[in-house]
């Protein structure tokens, strides 16, 4: 009897120790970045150009990360939400929907570097675009579309059946029901999905190495608004993102201060991703309260 109680105590203590250990790892990672960045970090790092030697800044890379994010989501959101509506509202259980689910599972398991290869052959070489933001965004669409489609489907499915019944009982058509009764309630869930998907764009690097490019831009002239590939506004400009920059800085190690630059860039990236995760919770909650009128 006593041994059994002892085992229970021991197991409980072990599980607590495990949890503490894992949380400690996470805290020390964040602390490492903050502490190691303090001596060299200043706000100017966010707003100046990268340099070959010394600290410099990451403005063009931040710009590219944001640009890729917006472009990718512009392409992904409409298709994913429409597809989600189909899967939740129209689709039955048949071979077509099975094929969609299998495709979703498969693409979420395909390594992103392999998807990058695909993007490189199709957009960079095949269409002869070279390294472009658009090629990178279309490559990211490959993972983000199936993911966001599933998240939107879940958000729409979670709308109570009574809402649909009430709308249909009032004589509205199925599309009117979806448009005016179902979607408004599903929006908080969809927005949470969008923010989560968007957060992944910031972190992704492997798929972008061979599609959006790895070359570190020297300087961007933001007054030059054009489709010309030299303009930072053009979807055809080479768009090295912050994640890719971290990889490249660390791999090439040309800059004598590459460790500091990579550490500070990692810290910025980490905080951006954190902000996305936290805001998806907050935004989802806030929209939920608005929709439910509480």
């Amino acid at each position: 009897m006593r041994r059994v109680l002892l085992a229970d105590r021991l197991a409980t203590a072990t599980l607590w120790a495990l949890a503490l250990f894992v949380v400690a790892i996470l805290v020390s990672i964040i602390a490492y970045f903050v502490v190691s960045s303090i001596p060299t970090f200043s706000l100017a790092f966010l707003f100046s150009d990268p340099v070959d030697s010394g600290i410099g800044g990451i403005l063009p890379l931040l710009w590219n990360s944001a640009y890729m994010l917006v472009l990718t989501m512009l392409l992904t959101i409409p298709i994913a939400v429409l597809g989600g509506i189909y899967m939740a509202e129209y689709a039955g259980e048949n071979r077509f929907t099975n094929a969609i689910r299998f495709s979703q599972e498969l693409i979420s398991s395909v390594p992103s570097i392999v998807v990058g290869l695909f993007g490189m052959t199709l957009f960079v070489a095949g269409l002869g675009w070279g390294f472009t933001a658009l090629g990178g965004a279309l490559t990211l669409l490959v993972f983000n579309l199936p993911l966001l489609l599933r998240l939107s489907e879940q958000a729409i499915r979670a709308v109570p059946a009574d809402e649909r019944a009430a709308s249909l009982a009032l004589g509205s058509t199925q599309w009117q029901t979806i448009r005016h009764a179902v979607l408004p309630i599903a929006i908080p869930g969809i927005v949470t999905g969008i923010v989560l998907t968007a957060g992944r764009v910031f972190g992704e690097a492997a798929a972008l190495l061979f599609t959006a490019g790895v070359a570190t831009p020297a300087h961007y002239d933001f007054t030059f608004v054009s489709l010309d590939p030299r303009s930072p506004w053009s979807p055809f400009h080479q768009a090295t993102t912050l994640s890719v920059f971290i990889w490249n800085t660390n791999s090439e190690a040309n800059n004598p201060q590459h460790t500091e630059v990579a550490a500070m860039s990692s810290m910025v990236l980490l905080f951006l991703v954190l902000a996305f995760n936290l805001s998806s919770r907050w935004l989802g909650g806030a929209l939920q309260r608005r929709v439910s009128g509480l």
Partner: protein, 305 residues
């Protein structure tokens, strides 16, 4: 929590429903997913077999342990075995390290943690899963590798073990969250019944909760392995990238993903070397496919929730 089951279903779509443009447009959007995935499969498969068709390499050659892709340094041999073994070592090793930690943590969150602790661990897992792979790779290269070299006397520090540890941390939140979900699906009554018979909480966990959640936990571990096998940059940044078969955790190795990362930029599509990289992509694709089928089998075996 499951979504409310919908009793409402527009019966069998009639002729007019099938003409419904909204239905057609949304269906086309969903069909795009199938089209994209089919396109990728076809692409990788086609490019992946060019090594055999175009470069005339015999299929068994890829199982050779020798990787000598550069025609300038003698006769070429396109043995992919070092990379396949390296990939296996990384994902099996990472899963062996991460699984006990993550399943234990999942168990803690589901069975032991008081509410305040769960309010810390759950967001912590969300933050954990969001750390980008280049950040993991960087941490591995600047923190782990020097420690392995100076304190543990690794020749380079860049090693199989470094890769396994970094990837273990990367997949930890994946396995934790999924096994936590698996433990939550075990009905409350089963625990209550066990404890009403006078068992301790740990006995209830060991003999009731864990067996009931076993297939869900297995799925979680396989999903973690899947992520580990496909990870490219974090691995490439810490394993030293030496294309030879090694079983010593202290030696540098190379994986399929890291080889593609390293060599894709230096080769052109007409070179057999480049074609061999595509063949690696095809091998990775086949691995993903087997993981997906494995997960499907595991979840089919799971009792109805």
């Amino acid at each position: 929590m499951t979504a409310p089951t919908r009793t409402l279903r527009v019966a069998k779509p009639g002729f007019r429903a099938r003409l419904d443009p909204a239905r057609r447009i949304t269906q086309a959007a969903a069909a795009l997913v199938i089209a994209i995935v089919a396109l990728i499969l076809a692409f990788i498969a086609w490019r992946g077999i060019q090594l055999f068709i175009d470069a005339g390499v015999a299929v068994p050659e890829i199982l050779s342990p020798t990787w000598q892709p550069d025609p300038d340094s003698g006769p070429t041999t396109f043995g992919l075995l070092p990379f396949i073994v390296g990939t296996l070592e990384i994902f099996v090793g990472a899963a062996l390290i991460a699984a006990p930690l993550s399943v234990g943590l999942g168990l803690f969150m589901a069975e032991v943690a008081p509410n305040w602790a769960r309010r810390i661990t759950q967001p912590a897992m969300e933050v954990f899963v969001g750390i980008p792979s280049v950040v993991w790779g960087f941490l591995g290269a600047v923190l782990l590798v020097p420690v392995l070299r100076t304190n543990f006397h690794f020749t380079y520090g860049y090693s199989m073990l470094a890769g396994q540890l970094v990837v273990a941390l990367m997949i930890l939140p994946t396995i934790t969250s999924l096994s936590y979900d698996a433990f939550l699906t075990v009905p409350r009554d089963m625990r209550a019944a066990s404890m009403a018979l006078g068992t301790t909480r740990w006995q209830a966990i060991r003999h009731v909760v864990v067996p009931a959640a076993a297939s869900g936990v297995m799925t979680a571990i396989v999903m973690g392995m899947m992520r580990a096998a496909g990870e490219a940059l974090a691995v490439q940044m810490v394993i030293g990238n030496r294309a030879s078969i090694a079983f010593n955790p202290m030696s540098p190795i190379q994986t399929l993903t890291s080889a593609i990362t390293m060599d894709m930029g230096n080769t052109t599509p007409s070179q057999p070397w480049n074609m061999a990289l595509w063949t690696m992509g095809l091998v990775l694709l086949l691995m993903s496919l087997s993981f997906v089928l494995l997960v499907r089998r595991l979840s089919a075996r799971r009792p109805a929730e």
